[in-house]
C-alpha cells in the first residue's frame, strides 16, 4: 500500500493528518515546495492501510494511494 504525495501540490494544511486513523502523517519542516509551503509526510508507510481517508480529505487532491 503506497501513500504518495504530490510534493508541489501540498499546501501543508494538515487536514489529512487529522483524518488519518493511524496518525502517521505529520508536517515536515526540512523542505519547502515551490509555493513556499512545508508539506505533510508519512512517517511510517508500513502502518498505512490504504484506507485513503487522507486523500478523501485533501482539498488539493495532492495525495494518491496506489
Amino acid at each position: 500500500m503506497k501513500f504518495k504525495l504530490d510534493f508541489e501540490r501540498c499546501k501543508g494544511c494538515e487536514v489529512c493528518a487529522s483524518a488519518c486513523p493511524k496518525k502517521i502523517l505529520q508536517m515536515q519542516h526540512e523542505r519547502i515546495n515551490k509555493s513556499g509551503y512545508n508539506t505533510i509526510a508519512c512517517i511510517d508507510e508500513s502502518a498505512c492501510t490504504g484506507c485513503a481517508l487522507c486523500a478523501t480529505m485533501c482539498p488539493d487532491c495532492a495525495i494518491i494511494i496506489e
Binding site: G12, C13, S35, G50, P59, D60, I65
Partner: protein, 246 residues
C-alpha cells in the same frame, strides 16, 4: 489502478484556494461524479463571483461565468437554450442567499431543470471575510467586528428548508465536507441531484457546509471542529425535500 487518484474531470492545475479551504474537496467530488456519469462532454457549469469563481479552470467541462448573484438566472438561460446539457451552478452563500435570493427562489419555483451546488461557509471569502447571510449569531467578521448581533444584522438563513416549500424542487439537501464520511455523503447527494436532472425531474439544490480557515481566523483543522460544533446544530444535515410536484 491506484486506489485513489485524481478524477479525469478535475484539471491537473494548482488551485488558488487557501490551504485547508474545503472548496477543493467540493470541486473534486463534482469531478468524480462527472466522471462516473461520463458527462464531461455534455456538461456546462455556471460559476459566479466568489472564491469558487475560478472553478472554470479546475473543472474540465465547458463553463460560463456569471455576475455575482445571477448564476441561477444564467443557468436558466443555458438550460432553456440547451435542455440536452447537464447544467449546474456552483455558488457561494452570498451569491445564492444574499444578492441572488430572487434568482434562486424563482429558478426553484419554476422547477428549472438544473442543479445548484451552493457552498455555505458562513462568510464572504473572496472579498476578505465579511458577514454572509449564513454567518452565525455572534460570529465575528469584517463587518460584524463585535460578533453578528441578530438584532442589528438579522438571523442566518436556512436555505434548503426554504427551498423545500417550493413545488418545483425535486431535491433539496444539505450536506457537509468536514470529514471523509460526510464527503462521501456529499458526493452521493450531488450524484443523485445530477441523475434527477438527467431524468428531467426539476430543480435540485445541494447546500454544502464548508470552512474558511483564513477568514474565520483558525487553522484548517480547528475550522473543521468549529463547523461541526457551531454550524451543524444550526444547519441540520439531510434531505429537506425530494420529489417535485408534477
Amino acid at each position: 489502478m491506484p486506489k485513489f487518484s485524481r478524477p479525469k474531470s478535475l484539471v491537473d492545475k494548482q488551485t488558488h484556494f487557501c490551504p485547508g479551504c474545503l472548496h477543493g474537496i467540493i470541486h473534486r467530488i463534482i469531478a468524480e461524479v462527472i466522471d462516473e456519469l461520463d458527462v464531461e462532454g455534455t456538461t456546462i457549469g455556471v460559476f459566479p463571483v466568489g472564491c469558487g469563481v475560478f472553478g472554470y479552470w479546475y473543472l474540465g467541462c465547458d463553463t460560463v461565468s456569471a455576475s455575482h448573484g445571477r448564476a441561477c438566472a444564467v443557468a436558466t438561460g443555458v438550460k432553456r437554450a440547451r435542455p440536452d446539457r447537464l447544467v449546474f451552478s456552483y455558488q457561494g452563500d452570498g451569491d445564492m442567499m444574499a444578492i441572488g435570493t430572487g434568482e434562486a427562489i424563482h429558478a426553484a419555483a419554476r422547477g428549472e431543470n438544473f442543479t445548484s451546488i451552493f457552498v455555505n461557509n458562513a462568510i464572504y471569502g473572496m472579498t476578505g471575510g465579511q458577514m454572509a447571510p449564513t454567518s452565525m449569531p455572534g460570529q465575528k467578521t469584517q463587518t460584524t467586528p463585535f460578533g453578528r448581533d441578530t438584532a442589528a444584522a438579522g438571523f442566518p438563513i436556512k436555505s434548503v428548508e426554504m427551498f423545500a416549500t417550493l413545488d418545483g424542487v425535486a431535491l433539496a439537501q444539505r450536506v457537509s465536507v468536514h470529514d471523509a464520511k460526510h464527503v462521501r455523503e456529499a458526493k452521493a447527494a450531488i450524484k443523485k441531484a445530477f441523475e434527477i436532472q438527467l431524468r428531467g425531474e426539476g430543480f435540485s439544490v445541494i447546500e454544502v457546509l464548508s470552512t474558511c480557515p483564513t477568514n474565520w481566523g483558525m487553522t484548517p483543522t480547528n475550522s473543521i471542529k468549529w463547523l461541526e460544533e457551531n454550524m451543524i446544530p444550526y444547519y441540520p444535515l439531510g434531505v429537506t425535500k425530494e420529489g417535485a410536484v408534477k
